[in-house]
Amino acid sequence: MTTKSPADSRPLSPFMLGSYYRFQWTSVLSFAHRLTGLGLSLGSALLAVWLIALAGGPQWYGAVAAHVQAWYGQVLLFAWTFALMYHLCNGIRHLFWDIGRGFELKTAQYSGYAVVVVSLLLTAAAWALACFR
């Protein structure tokens, strides 16, 4: 027996984007947290592939390294670094909210600026270390 409950025909979460919803700085950061989280989930699969190739020997590792060193690999790796740093910094912001701190509108906006700046700095630091050391 399959009967549709009223809940089934209700619109689901992202329906209000665009037509009913005005974007704000803080909500954009919130979407970005989910998006980077999903991106990092895909990244964890690539991390496993990298380690498996490493365990597989020089030929496997070389095959993966060729993709990592190609332009698209480097672009992906840079995006991945920033996604990780952003998700990490914004995650700390979320942890402060979880203990009830930083909810005031001004504080939430400024902590959002801080998250973006610090995650950019951490990304730059990692790539500077990799490229110029």
């Binding site: 689901l12 979460s13 989910r34 999903l38 699969a45 991390l47 496993a48 590792y61 942890l95 990692a126």
Partner: protein, 127 residues
């Protein structure tokens, strides 16, 4: 007819015990991942700075303290990721069938990633 009150039946069931479990382990794994993720990114950046040759990376990954930390990172990341993707699926997938199918697929895939990644590290470390 049962003489038990609804309250006595509800006690110890469902969210009466497990309601905050997902919320809590998501935060605990997040806290664990702060040092682990920073360590991983800057370690790999250092490896890249030294050229990232197969021998150098293998030597690094098979070093006992590195191997242990890599296993912890893989386990925490896969667990945290599985919890996060679960919430995204629950929030945005409308059909009950699709939702359950995707949830199971996500859990299996995350388990595969964790087991395969950890196996690779152990193979390197114990070789």
């Amino acid at each position: 007819m049962s003489l038990r009150s609804p309250l006595s039946r509800a006690r110890g069931l469902g969210s009466a015990k497990h309601g905050v479990h997902h919320f809590w382990v998501q935060r605990v794994s997040a806290v664990a991942l702060i040092p682990l993720a920073l360590w991983f990114v800057f370690s790999v950046a250092l490896l890249a700075a030294k050229g990232g040759s197969f021998d150098a990376v293998r030597y690094w990954a098979s070093y006992p303290s590195v191997a242990v930390t890599l296993v912890l990172f893989l386990a925490a990341a896969a667990y945290h990721s599985a919890l996060g993707v679960q919430v995204v699926i629950e929030d945005y997938v409308a059909g009950e069938g699709w939702k359950i199918a995707l949830l199971v697929f996500s859990k299996f895939t995350h388990l595969l990633i964790a087991v395969a990644g950890i196996f690779a590290v152990l193979k390197l470390a114990l070789a």
